[in-house]
């Protein structure tokens, strides 16, 4: 009986507690920068697409919601011809971000992507591509990779020695 009265008193004291609910549309809850929300495609610091269309994200995706087609420009730089994510299937597991070798595909702390039509949830490359580098400000794949593209030949990348001449015997 006494414990019942005590629990009633404890409950009553909660009248003056702060409420924990966040009044959502007016105030939004804090989402950490690494929160796994809407997926974007980022650009390198030079403003070019990071994605090299390696299909790793599409391969690792457990629900097969990513589809893309690789192509090359005249300088030999690979990029996706189209890049499509079906968000009605996406489970926001973040595997694509982990698989991506060029930090192109990234998950963002944005969860407000409700739609009235299902087809509205299929995002094309135009919808996915952002103007900035996202979470990795300075990373530029083609500047550190050994691939030759226009304006950068083999051996000219950062921390890269010029290629060895395999036909000479001189040390």
């Amino acid at each position: 009986m006494l414990s019942a009265l005590r629990s009633l008193w404890t409950v009553l004291r909660h009248t003056f507690r702060l409420r924990v609910t966040v009044q959502y549309p007016e105030k939004s809850v804090y989402l950490a920068p690494r929160y796994r929300g809407r997926i974007i495609l980022s650009r390198d610091p030079d403003g070019q697409e990071r994605c090299v269309a390696c299909y790793l994200c599409a391969g690792v995706c457990p629900v097969d919601c990513i589809s893309l087609q690789a192509t090359e420009d005249e300088s030999g730089r690979r990029y996706p011809e189209f890049f499509r994510i079906n968000f009605s299937r996406c489970i926001f597991c973040g595997f694509c971000e982990e698989a991506c070798p060029t930090c192109a595909i990234q998950l963002t702390p944005d969860i407000e992507m409700g739609e009235y039509k299902r087809t509205g949830l299929v995002y094309e490359k135009d919808d996915l591509l952002i103007d900035g580098p996202g979470k990795y400000q300075d990373y530029n794949f083609y500047r550190v990779a050994g691939v030759a593209i226009a304006g950068k030949d083999k051996g000219e990348a950062e921390n890269e020695a010029p290629p060895e001449d395999v036909k000479t015997l001189l040390p």
């Binding site: 019942a4 629990s7 009633l8 404890t10 409950v11 009553l12 909660h14 009248t15 507690r17 702060l18 409420r19 924990v20 609910t21 009044q23």
Partner: protein
């Protein structure tokens, strides 16, 4: 003619007032429970979410009103009406303020008991007519609970009747002019509170419903507005028990400065909040605990209270 009009106005006022209160209580309960659980509750529809019951009503009216094919159709339809009618009939004898009552019966208290006993039929019939195990179990529990708690609910008020010398609720209120009965009849008050909780099937005595054991107890098979009527009936019951608590033990409309009706409504409101607090704070009892507590603790206490009150009343005369 004038008197008839006034009387009809009072009847309309009581009917409208109690029904509005009952549906408003749905909002109040959700808000208060939320407050005590550090949440907000419904606060979107209208100011402070006050129109939530209205929205709920519209929703529940547009829902499919389904009667299970295995149910006893006539009784199934009739049962929800019974609870509303009996509880509303009980409001007949409640004196809200001097002159504001529907009927001042000289057996008002007995009338209330009769009506609340009849109300038990609603749950039993609902449980029986649903033709489902969970509903029947809920109905059985309701029957046993109502029967046993009715006994000392009545006996706990006999002390009040003895001190007043009348069964009329108006006389009982007027007898508390000098001292409220919650002081002189404190055990009676506590027992009436507990029995009232059991009568309205509120937590911690909501065994007939017991969501975690019996799906939804006696109204498992009900949907749409029939379920809504059980719901409103329950809240009407809370309002009634709170109002009667005020009448029997807290001086009814009496109080300084403010008009009598305000006092009455204020006190009733306080008790309703108390009911909700009990729901927020206490877990449900086991059914055998409820029965044992009733017959082994409350009944002897009530009889003792009755004896002592009787002796004192005799000594005075």
């Amino acid at each position: 003619m004038r008197e008839i009009v006034i009387h009809l106005l009072i009847i309309g006022g009581v009917l409208g007032g109690t029904l509005t209160t009952a549906s408003g209580l749905i909002w109040l309960e959700r808000r208060l429970l939320a407050l005590w659980q550090d949440r907000y509750g419904p606060n979107r529809v209208g100011p402070f979410g006050l129109f939530q019951p209205l929205a709920d009503t519209i929703k529940i009216f547009t829902k499919e009103d389904w009667i299970p094919p295995f149910a006893d159709k006539t009784v199934f339809v009739l049962a929800p009406g019974v609870i509303i009618v009996t509880v509303l009939m009980s409001f007949l004898v409640v004196p809200f303020a001097p002159g504001i009552w529907v009927a001042d019966l000289n057996v008002g208290l007995l009338f209330f008991f009769g009506m609340s006993s009849l109300g038990a039929y609603s749950l039993i019939l609902a449980g029986w007519a649903s033709n489902s195990k969970y509903s029947l179990l809920g109905g059985l529990r309701a029957a046993a609970q109502t029967l046993s708690y009715e006994v000392f609910m009545g006996l706990s008020l006999m002390g009040v009747v003895m001190l007043t010398g009348s069964f009329s609720l108006r006389a009982i209120v007027e007898a508390q002019h000098d001292l409220w009965f919650c002081v002189s009849q404190f055990p009676g008050f506590v027992i009436f509170l507990i029995a009232g909780l059991a009568e309205t099937h509120r937590l911690p005595f909501d065994m007939p419903e017991a969501e975690s054991e019996l799906v939804a107890g006696f109204h498992s098979e009900y949907s749409g507005m029939k379920f809504g009527m059980f719901f409103v009936g329950e809240y009407l019951g809370i309002t009634l028990i709170s109002a009667l608590m005020v009448v029997f033990f807290f001086g009814g409309w009496q109080g300084p400065f403010l008009p009598p009706l305000v006092w009455f409504v204020g006190k009733t409101f306080l008790f309703i909040c108390g009911f909700i607090l009990l729901r927020a704070g206490l877990p449900r009892l086991r059914f055998d605990q409820l029965m044992a507590f009733g017959w082994k603790v409350l009944l002897p206490l009530t009889l003792l209270n009755l004896l002592v009150t009787g002796a004192i009343a005799l000594l005075r005369t």
